[in-house]
């Protein structure tokens, strides 16, 4: 009987929206927390990793964010904001804080995950191009890099990404344009020809 109730709760939580899941988390529902985590932790980690370029720091940032979700879920006010917007904002702010601290890690040492599919030569060329682009992104100013990561890693539209970065859509678009211009210049200087 208890298993049926638990299974029913899991089934219900799978179709609940984030606000409802947070309400359940506030009541100590660990399965709701797991559901929330499975929905958002992957993209949150990708965002942190693309901004920071270091896996360890990215993990710490995501853990810190989800720790706040668990401990302070009761303080959540439903309907006032999207959970993903809040979560990405926490991630971006924490990453920018970390980036401002002095570090001994090479900023261009971006780790790239292996891509097992496709032809070997094409894979190699694509990996080289991606590595060059990732290195160029790593040299961008912090906020420009965050804008690039929000757009191309999380797939947020400009309005949502601007809300995450707490700026107007126009300002965000300007940030993106400057970032792309810088990337083109950097890649042109590296390769001798623009993309």
């Amino acid at each position: 009987m208890a298993d049926e109730v638990s299974a029913g709760a899991r089934l219900t939580s799978s179709v609940l929206d984030d606000d409802a899941l947070l309400a359940a988390v506030a009541g100590g529902d660990q399965s709701a927390f797991a559901q929330l985590m499975s929905r958002h932790a992957g993209r949150a980690y990708s965002l942190a990793f693309r901004i920071l370029g270091r896996r360890g720091d990215a993990e710490d940032v995501v853990q810190d964010a989800f720790l706040q979700v668990w401990t302070r879920a009761a303080q959540w006010q439903a309907g006032r904001a999207k959970f993903s917007t809040w979560l990405y904002r926490v991630i971006v702010n924490r990453c920018l804080d970390l980036k401002r601290r002095p570090t001994t890690t090479d900023i261009t040492a971006i780790e790239e995950p292996a891509d097992p599919s496709g032809d070997a030569l094409q894979d190699m060329e694509r990996a080289q191009r991606n590595a060059a682009l990732a290195a160029a992104v790593a040299k961008l100013p912090e906020r420009q890099r965050a804008a690039i990561a929000l757009t191309y890693t999380t797939g947020l539209r400009n309005a949502a990404a601007a809300a995450v970065m707490e700026m107007s859509v126009k300002a965000f678009e300007g940030l993106l344009v400057r970032a792309k211009r810088t990337l083109r210049d950097q890649l042109a200087a590296t390769d001798g020809e623009p993309l």
Binding site: R72, W76, A81, W86, P113, R126, V137, P194
Partner: protein
Amino acid sequence: MMEKEFDLERDLTQAMAPVEMPASLQQRLSRIPLEHPQQSTGTVVRFQAHEKKMSGLDRLSADWPMVGTATASRRSFAWGLTSSLTAAAASLLLGVFLGANIVSDQLGLTRQSADQQQLADTAYDGTVSTDTTDNDGALLDDDNVAMIYAAADLPGVLP
């Protein structure tokens, strides 16, 4: 140009693609409910993205626990606002102090000039002389007359 733009877009999409979350992080996140107690309801979480009507002061005083990580820009904003308010309060106090001094000085001058005017008016009425040298002169004249009467051996009573 459009082709180059398309290439950059495509390459950015590939280079910035989401990465797989490490299993170690998955485990760390799964342990959170077991290792950390939840906080009771006390303050209401505010989400600034949907509070466009909030003023800067409201945003500063808003409860930020869920935001958690205050950015340097927020800290500098708070510092700037605090220092601005302090400077404004100091300026106001200084202005009030100087203004009070000026007003008190003007009141003193007005009172003095009013006294002088009153003195002049009474002197014009003949009740009081404003110049003591005139009184001295009158006394001096009386003495001279008395001396004349004395010299003439007349009773020393003035007419």
